[in-house]
Amino acid sequence: MPKPDAAKLLASARSGDRAALARLLTMVESDPDAAFVAAGVVPKAESRKPKADAHIIGFTGSPGAGKSSLLDRLAGELARSGARPACRGEARPSGRRPAVLSIDPTSPFTGGAVLGDRVRMSEETLAVGVFVRSMASRGAAGGLARSVSAAARVLALSGYSPVLIETVGAGQGEVAVAELADTVVVVLVPGMGDDVQMLKMGILEIADVYAVNKIDLGGSAAFVEHLCEAVSGPGAHGRARHELAAGPVSDWVPAIVPTSARTGEGIVELVAAVESHRRHLAEDGRGQALRAARAGRRILRALAERLAAEAGCEGSCRLELGKLAAAVASGAMSEWHAAGELLGTSIMSPAAKSGGRKRLLDSRPAGRAGRPGSDHGKSL
């Protein structure tokens, strides 16, 4: 099959061809740049400017908290809720076309994955036109896959908004979603270990909205009350999210919505909370500023991952690594410091590699571990 052209696929996707959209998403998964190349071409071919201002809503929380089930309900509600009769009595489309991106982990051993979030997607949700796509994390850290932002962009360009993103749900270290989503919903379940444990974790500091799920099982009232106190007190948790993104500090107080994905209770309120946060972001360009701040964080994350990808260590780098490894194993320095040594010699300065690298390596003993006065030396 000839290689499909990303720009052509995007043009088809924008005119409603879901198969073209799906193919473009596959392309973007192996090459995130395809999304941006395509987007750059489209405006010339079309008179309409591609709009890509979809509201991106991230969902995170412990495995089994009910993220997928809630997304199914929420996406269905979002697609339908605007479709109420307008004042003249005629049905009006909601203008919302929700899409869902669900991320599940890739096995580091086999490279394969079982993507199981579709199990919770109901027929009704598909019937109202929600586009659901599963993505494997493919080795990316932080609870998302590397191509998620590009995939979200493609969905936005194809007219989908909001884009709902479900993280792998490791429960911890799910920070990548806070660097991408405009609104973060943290799904908690009382009595599932979420009560005490979760409050200690960084995950609470990224929430704009809490969904306290499975309230049909009972016992949620005390939990909600506890959460309310934690969230509205001084140094409210939600603020940290904006500080994390190095953006302006927000006066948003995280909303707490008791929900049941089983009975549907609280779903309308969840839509309202998410919408209210979107309106909050729209005030005085706050949302745009935060987007830029988050983009900066994502660049740094990408930088770290690219460096890791580049750290294919061979030849003289191997020799250096051997020396550093001996030093780290014997307790002479930290791996953090050793990585810095490798970074300085073999990765960050390609120019040094051509001629200067050998000299650099030769003239240097096994790292500067014991060098007096180095920060590292002090900390030991």
Binding site: M1, A19, A22, A113, L126, E314
Partner: protein, 169 residues
């Protein structure tokens, strides 16, 4: 993979210009994001009213262990859900487990719905409790392969790799 890495280091070693290092880093990233080639993506699920999903879960896991990305849809999927999943997920194949005896109806409908969506090239296969005498009819309606009870997961993985791993999708 190893060969390509060596190649990359050689390029870096010879070149002193940052742009080529950047290009090389970009290609490394692409390769890594891709995991060294396009993955086989397929839908695995169950249609029909019976609630036995043990077998199909084992198959899903085995295919993932064989390095594939398996979109597991779960039980009691309607043909519409299955076809729509295949479309949205850009799956190269659809494997269905059917134990309820409705295999003729379900496979026919799924094939129709796939074709309607322009997904004629999506490979449909399945297993479950399917009498041998129904297999020719299934093949005629466009079911690529029918696995009998007791088929090993290795055999299924080999089939899927051979059929979907050819780089046509």
């Amino acid at each position: 993979m190893v060969a390509r890495r060596n190649n990359k280091s050689n390029n870096l070693g010879k070149s002193s210009s940052a742009p080529s290092a950047v290009r090389s880093a970009a290609s490394a990233l692409k390769r890594d994001a891709d995991g060294g080639g396009r993955r086989i993506r397929l839908i695995v699920g169950k249609s029909g009213l019976d609630g036995h999903d043990r077998g199909v879960k084992i198959v899903a896991r085995a295919l993932a262990e064989a390095g594939m990305e398996v979109i597991y849809t779960g039980l009691r999927q309607t043909p519409e859900q299955i076809a729509e999943a295949a479309l949205q997920e850009d799956a190269a194949g659809v494997g269905l487990s059917i134990l309820s005896g409705a295999h003729l109806t379900i496979f026919r409908r799924v094939r129709e719905l796939l074709d309607e969506r322009g997904l004629g090239d999506v490979v449909l296969f399945g297993g479950g409790i399917i009498p041998a005498e129904d297999v020719p009819a299934l093949q005629k309606m466009g079911v690529d392969r029918v696995f009998g009870p007791g088929t090993s997961t290795a055999e299924i993985a080999d089939y899927v790799r051979g059929r979907l791993g050819g780089g046509t999708k």
